[in-house]
Symmetry: C2
């Protein structure tokens, strides 16, 4: 080796390389998909000369019940399949392909979100509310995955924690929002599908939200951690985990609060604690806040899964009316209930508000369009958090 400068050329693993060569190039041109045009139409492209039929299914298309809309992509004479949408409104969207009947991802878009046992491609149309979901040029908080011991469950468990910009460098104490996921979710759901770090960074930068710590625990007591992140290793995630709603999670919830208050600079007072959740997490938040009726000044029920039950014996679910009454008498700042007009839980939530009306228990009610979807939960989070700790 001469006394030359030393410089590098670097290759990727061989399994990636051929895909770069075969898939990414089409007639010598790199395929980009999705292409988001300036007018907010979107073109999808996939190179598949041998395929017979490719459908595109996106959550901006009208759905029929639980069946998403789809459209046939069009093949050109070189085997490139394409589809261009109409103008799309600002939003974080999900989509998938059906290639000769197999639901799969866009090979040219590396960005996916996992929802239970499915990876779905994502794309973002900027503007309006959707700008809250982007990483903007603002100070950024930190996101930590760590483990805590739960004496009440006799387990070590994984937890995701957002700390606001400045947390590491100042000496202040912060309020805490405990933010709970729905069935099929885990400690990754809110940070990944719910865009918590982007929403919080942006709302804090706009001065609309108090800097706070957001704690995202795993609400499935049969799980130590999100699929792939615990000792169960890799397995096919299930729609419903065991022991999610038998009272054990709510009964051991103070393990999480104690861990957070021992480990972070927080204001350990009711006035600086909030608990909120979506769907099953709304159910958990309802019960946690009345089972510990003098602990949280702020409660958020997002599309809460409130359904009559048959046969659960946990003491957590005893004397619901009595504990709600105690919670009301103890006082709180905000009891926030959000539900979509077409949510299958709409009537159940309505019945619950009527129950609260009957008791004279105050709450804030927010009715949105749409159903039981992440779009609504991101909106609810961005409307709920500005009301906290003021």
């Amino acid at each position: 080796m001469k006394k030359q400068l030393i410089i590098a050329l670097v290759f990727v693993s061989w399994l990636t390389f051929p895909s770069l060569a075969q898939q990414a190039l089409f007639g010598g041109t790199e395929i980009v998909s999705p292409e988001i045009h300036e007018n907010h139409t979107v073109t999808f492209n996939v190179n598949a000369p041998e395929a017979e039929e490719i459908e595109l299914s996106g959550d901006w298309m009208p759905a029929e019940g639980w069946v998403p809309g789809s459209v046939n992509m069009v093949k050109d004479d070189k085997g490139l399949w394409s589809h261009t949408t109409d103008v799309l409104a600002p939003e974080l969207y999900g989509y998938a392909y059906l290639i000769d009947g197999v639901r799969t991802n866009d090979p040219n878009n590396v960005f996916v979100s996992r929802d239970i046992s499915t990876n779905t491609n994502i794309l973002l149309i900027p503007g309006g509310q959707a700008d809250l979901y982007k990483v903007n040029d603002v100070p950024h908080g930190s996101v930590t995955r760590r483990w805590y011991g739960s004496p009440g469950l006799d387990m070590t468990r994984r937890i995701t924690i957002y700390t606001p910009p400045g947390y590491e460098s100042d000496r202040s104490s912060y309020p805490v929002l405990y933010l709970l996921h729905g069935a099929g979710g885990d400690e990754e759901a809110w940070i990944e599908l719910g865009r918590v770090s982007q929403i919080m960074d942006n709302l804090i930068a706009q001065g609309k939200v108090e800097p706070m710590i957001v704690v995202m625990p795993n609400g499935n007591v049969s799980q130590q951690a999100a699929p792939g992140e615990g000792i169960r290793g890799y397995y096919k995630p299930q729609f419903m985990e065991q022991r999610t709603m038998d009272g054990s999670y709510e009964g051991a919830f103070m393990d999480i609060v104690n861990f957070v208050e021992d480990s972070y600079r927080v204001k350990s007072k009711k006035s600086h604690r909030a608990v909120a959740g979506l769907s099953m997490g709304g159910f958990h938040s309802l019960h946690i806040s009345r089972y510990y009726p003098n602990t949280f000044d702020y409660v958020g029920l997002f599309s809460a899964a409130i359904l009559p039950n048959q046969n659960v014996s946990s003491e957590v679910y005893q004397d619901i009316d009595g504990t709600l009454l105690t919670q009301m008498e103890n006082g709180y700042e905000l009891y926030w209930i959000g539900i979509g007009k077409t949510d299958f839980l709409f009537n159940n939530v309505k019945l619950y508000t009527e129950k609260l009306d009957g008791m004279g228990m105050p709450y804030t009610y927010r009715e949105s369009d749409g159903g039981h979807i992440w779009k609504n939960w991101r909106v609810y989070l961005s409307e709920f958090t500005p009301l906290l700790f003021k």
Copy 2:
């Protein structure tokens, strides 16, 4: 609502639901893929009645140069395609499908790793070295994604940091390993493809490795953060980013060291600093350690991308022999060089060791089987870290 218990039923987003219904079920049975059998053969399954041809490509198959091996899956009369492997040795493997010519992921396996612009499915065969890549029942460190200011680059940048078990609860100070990625990588590469948190947790639990902080920066100066995590938003990641090897990263590297030493309880001494990297990160480690010739007692070059250069003017690359000599005279504990026998960089690394021989500069040399692949870099990490800070 009666005074009944309140319990939940919860649904997923509609885009996920049909895929659960259509893909996951086959003849009323849930499809599992991959199925890892007790004898460590593996069966892959995909339901695709309309597909004409499905190939499986896995990195356990013999490759030809950069072209991976593949095998045709077999379709049964109901449209289920399957393939069962021979017995596989313990390892973390990657695989992909080619469905009617389109490279895509296994719709029944949600676990993927991103390498540049490609998501590849992963599976783990336990045993031996591969047990280091699993989450085992041992104490776990924390992994934080946060942002730091780099005055030298006039940028705010994202960084991934592993802190060992106990860091948050004790008052000790820790040594630091700076661990650098290759071209096409970013601050997510080592944690995702390199299994850093699993390897460190396991080796620390076995008493083989000193508890240490592992700092994984982004080595692409044109990037603020990994694709999708910065203000550039979503885009197609490139094989080579701009300004990765023009000297600016090495020239501003002390910004990272200063940030870490200001922000964590670390031992701010040469004897407690290590720098190592793979491929381009090995190139960076070589130059960083000689450009700051009295800063690191431990240096690791993993399949380092050492190639003669033509035309880079940065002062970082001036007087290489002189600074190496200074580094040698200042002394260090370990200069570790690992390379695979079939790596395309083998001869370049060999020439570099001959250069060091000529200078009388001591190093530890490790020659492994295989080429320029993550399998080797995980092995090198698990062999290098036990030698640090002893």
